[in-house]
Amino acid sequence: MHTSTSARTTPATAGGATSNRFRWRVVDIVVAAVLGVAIGLVFWGWNTVGGLWFVAMDGLTPGLGGIAVGIWLIGGVIGGLVIRKPGAALLVELIAAIVSALIGNVWGVTTIFSGLAQGLGAELIFLAFLYLRFTLPVAMLSGAAAGIGAWVLELFLSANIEKSVEFNLIYLGTLIVSGALLAGLVGWLLVRALAATGALSRFAVGREARRDV
């Protein structure tokens, strides 16, 4: 008995029509999730090493704790470079933050706010370039912008606004540098290495890597 629908007609795509550059494909969503979760695990791991640094430095020096923060900003950079669609940087960083919070870390729910602010910072840079440029400088800028996002958030979250101006300025400086290097540069290199293995063949960055070989 052929009841109801086994197959509904989807709007005709005539076997391969041009797709909107900004529409997320299923593979974009799934791989964003995979990257987000994997990076979330990295965050959770870095919570120890980077956390230790932050502990040592933030407690004793004004704002130098920010040097280690870059790794926690890498989700946005990688999301933007791989997926290259609106919201990718934000989504990957957010998923990574949620995973890190769910596994359990010291900052709890506020990790998710950080993820939002940091992802948004990175996203704004990719937006500024109209999602057309994904070079190393763009990656480093988005890493730095993610750092600025974190800084703004922490004025309220960690109540940094109550701390001295020197602290806040030094912290801003270290966040920008750390974001550009540990998130921007490292993120860019990681995406290139991943593309070289052929795992990203369904993405533009994977196809670019092929041409280089």
């Binding site: 987000g36 606004i161 795992a199």
Partner: protein, 261 residues
Amino acid sequence: MIAPVDVSARHAWLDGVNPVAKVAVVIVLAVPLLVSIDAVSAATAIVLELLCVPLTGLAYATVVKRLLPVVLFAPVAGLSMLLYARPGGTVYGTFLFATISDNSITLAVAVLLRVVALALPIILLFARTDPTELADALAQVAKLPSRFVLGVLAGARTVGLFVDDWRTMGLARRARGLGDRGALRRFFSMAFVLLVFAVRRGTKLATAMEARGFGTDVPRTWARPSRLSARDAVAVGGAVLLMAVALGAAVVTGAFRVVGT
């Protein structure tokens, strides 16, 4: 329901709350605390939340265990505030950029307690939530786009399947002469390979999902309906009440202090 309920799990009150309501509760228990930076509101929130632990179905021991890293780390946040807050009241000492004063001590204690109060809700509410249930709720109740919610759920699941691969890769590196030194390099190289595996499998999974009709504009039906009930209103209402008491206590004792003043 497609699957019969697993009767063996102890059924706690909170298990019957819709995951979207749980998300709302977590937000309610966190955001208001960010408005004020004082020790009383944070401490009251912590105490009241700990009193609610029986509702969550978790043992106190589990909660304490999960809270431990937070409690150990919280003093750091406090220390930073202690040394670098803007000076106020009696000044007890200075060193380079650091100044310890009455103001910084008050703020330090407040921040320390606040860190714990912000970490507690997620531990209490999401330790026992099934991810599929959460995804169903987010798509059906919160009306988030189902493509994204389910796509993220499916992708997130694939990453958790690689434990055996990790162990085998460790053995493989010993076999190739790299097992003696360089634990850090090994760690990164293994992590990278796992990332390759995960992205590849995610890509194949996306194809399989599309083959099963996922991602089209056809309106989806749900085999596992997710609905809101009275219990959800009670949970959210309870959270609002808890926050009101915590902040109220701060106002009454005069400790209430908006961030930035």
